[in-house]
C-alpha cells in the first residue's frame, strides 16, 4: 500500500516537471556564488570604469569558504524552494477535495503521511546531493581540494537541516487546508528558530539552525566537534517528534473508526 501511494507521488512529481526544475534550481544555487566570486576580479576589470591607480582588495576564499557559499544559499533560497514545493503536498489535496476519493478507500492514514514525506525527501535530497556535487566540482577546480569524505559529511549534516524543514512543512500540511498558510507557517517557524537561536546564543547551542555553523568548523578543523554531535542528535529527535505529531494530527483530522 505504501509503495502504491509513494509511486503515485513520484509519478506526479515527474508529470509536473518537478524532477527537472528542482535539481536545476539546486545546481544553480550551489554554483552561483563560488563561480561569481572566483571571476569577480575579471568581471570588475572588464566592466572597467576604475582609474588605473585604484587597487581593490578582494578577499581570497578557501575551498571551505566556497562550499559554505553553496550551503548558505540553500539556507535561504533553498529553504524557500522546499517550502514552495511542499506547501500543497497534503493541504492542496484537501482543499481541492481529491483526498476524499483516496481516504474512502481502506488506506492507512499513517502510510499516507509517510508516503508524502518520503516522496518529498526523495526529490529534495536528489536535488540537494546533485547540487552539492556540482558545488564540490567547481570548488575543486577553482579554489582547491575538498576531500570526498568531507563532502559527504557536509551533505549528511546539512541534509539534517533540510530534513527538518521538510518535516516541518509536512506537519503544517496536516494542520491546515491552505497551502499559503503552510508556506507562511513553515518559513515563520524556521526563521523563528534561527532568530531565537541567535538571540539566546550559547544557551541554545544545540539548535538545528546551528548545524551550518558547526559544519563550517568541521570544514576548517576536520574534526566532528561534540557540539555537532549533540546538535545532530537533537535534530534527529526533533524531526522524529514532528513527524509523529504530523501522523497523529492527520489521524485525528480524519478519524475513522472501522467499527
Amino acid at each position: 500500500m505504501m509503495k502504491v501511494l509513494f509511486k503515485k507521488e513520484v509519478l506526479e512529481n515527474w508529470r509536473n516537471k518537478k524532477w527537472i526544475w528542482v535539481p536545476l534550481v539546486f545546481i544553480l544555487l550551489a554554483i552561483m556564488d563560488p563561480i561569481t566570486n572566483y571571476y569577480l576580479p575579471d568581471i570588475l576589470e572588464s566592466v572597467g570604469g576604475l582609474e588605473g591607480g585604484a587597487v581593490i582588495e578582494l578577499p581570497t576564499f578557501s575551498p571551505a569558504d566556497a562550499i559554505m557559499m553553496s550551503v548558505s544559499q540553500y539556507s535561504t533560497l533553498g529553504v524557500l524552494v522546499i517550502v514552495l514545493l511542499s506547501m500543497g503536498i497534503i493541504s492542496g489535496e484537501r482543499k481541492s477535495g481529491v483526498i476524499e476519493l483516496v481516504l474512502v478507500k481502506p488506506v492507512s492514514y499513517t502510510k499516507f503521511v509517510l508516503a508524502k514525506w518520503l516522496s518529498l525527501l526523495l526529490l529534495v535530497f536528489a536535488a540537494f546531493i546533485i547540487g552539492m556535487m556540482a558545488s564540490w566540482y567547481y570548488t575543486n577546480i577553482l579554489y582547491g581540494e575538498i576531500t570526498f569524505s568531507m563532502l559527504l559529511a557536509v551533505i549528511f549534516y546539512y541534509g539534517l537541516w533540510l530534513l527538518f524543514v521538510c518535516t516541518v512543512s509536512i506537519f503544517f500540511n496536516t494542520v491546515t487546508q491552505s497551502p499559503g498558510i503552510v508556506a507562511f507557517a513553515t518559513i515563520g517557524t524556521t526563521a523563528g528558530i534561527s532568530l531565537v537561536t541567535s538571540l539566546l546564543g550559547i544557551r541554545l547551542a544545540w539548535s538545528p539552525t546551528n548545524l551550518s555553523v558547526y559544519i563550517q568548523e568541521l570544514l576548517v578543523t576536520g574534526d566532528v566537534s561534540s557540539e555537532l554531535m549533540y546538535t545532530t542528535i537533537i535534530s534527529i529527535v526533533l524531526i522524529a517528534l514532528i513527524l509523529l505529531a504530523s501522523i497523529y494530527r492527520f489521524n485525528r483530522t480524519f478519524i475513522r473508526r472501522s467499527q
Binding site: 500500500m1 481529491v98 476519493l101 478507500k105 481502506p106 467499527q259
Partner: protein, 302 residues
Amino acid sequence: MTILSVSNLAKQFNNTYAVKDLAYQFTPHQCIALIGPNGAGKTTTLQMIAGLLQPTSGEIIFDKHKSIDRRTLIGYLPQQPVFYSWMTGSEFLVYSGQLGGLTKTASRKRSAELLDITGISEAKNKRIGNYSGGMKQRLGIAQAIIHQPKLLMLDEPVSSLDPIGRREVLTLLEQLKTEMTVLFSTHILSDADEISDELILLRKGEMIESGKMKDLRQKYQTTKITLQFLENQAFYQKKVAALPHVTRTLLERDTVQVIATNIETARQEILQQAVDEKWPLLAFKLEQATLEEMFMKAVNDA
C-alpha cells in the same frame, strides 16, 4: 437480514445538529434513496457512513464484518468528485483499485471492464483534466465500485447531468443493485421514485419518514380531483373551496386541484353544483396523488 445498521447517528456542528437520531437498517441488494431538500443533512450522513466524518454520537455497524476496516466494504462517490487531473482515466482507476486492496494486475483487469461498462473506454488514455462533467461522473462511479464493495453510496449522482446522462446513470444503478446495496441521495423525488426500493426522507437533519417505497405509496395514497375551467379558474376555485367536504384547493397553472376528506361525496357535490350553476367545465379528472404530495407534505408540515 441486514447488511448495515445505523443507530442514533448524530453530527453536531457549532451547536446545531446537521444530523440527529438517525437510525436505519439496510437490506442487501436494495436501492435506497436518501431524499430531502438542500441542507437536510444528506451529505453529512453519507460522509459519516463512508468514514470521512466522525459522528458526534451513534453507531454504524456492518453486520458480519465487525473486525475489518469498513471502508473495504464501501464505495463512495462525492457530489463533486475531484480527481488528479494529471492522471489518465485508466491510471486513476488502477490506482483506486490498488488503494481498494487489489493487486496491480487485478486492478488493471477490473479497470478495463469498468471503463467498458461506464462507456468511457475511448477516453481512457486521456488526462482527466480534459474530461467533461458527464465523463467525470462515470469515472467517479467506476472508481467507487472497483473494489466490489457491499455498499455503494452516491451523493447526488444525477443532479448535475443532462437528461440522457441521468437516464444512463439511473439504469446503471439499477444494474448494480444486483451486486450490492445502493444508497444515493437526491433532492429530486422522481429520481428516487423511479429506481429505489426504499426511501429515507430527511428534513433539517431528522428522519421524518422512511420505509419501503410500496408501503409509503400506500400510506400516502390520496386521491385528488383536477378541474379545468374555460375561464376564471380563481373564481371557481373559491366556489369549490366553499363546498363542505373539500379540505384543500390549489390553483396550479390553469387547473384547480382539489383534495377532499371523502372523495366520493366531494365528487358528487362538485358535479351537482357544476350542473346547477352551468360551470364552463373543460376537464374533470380523478387522480392518484404521487409521492410528491408526501414529499411536500412531510417537508412543509413537520
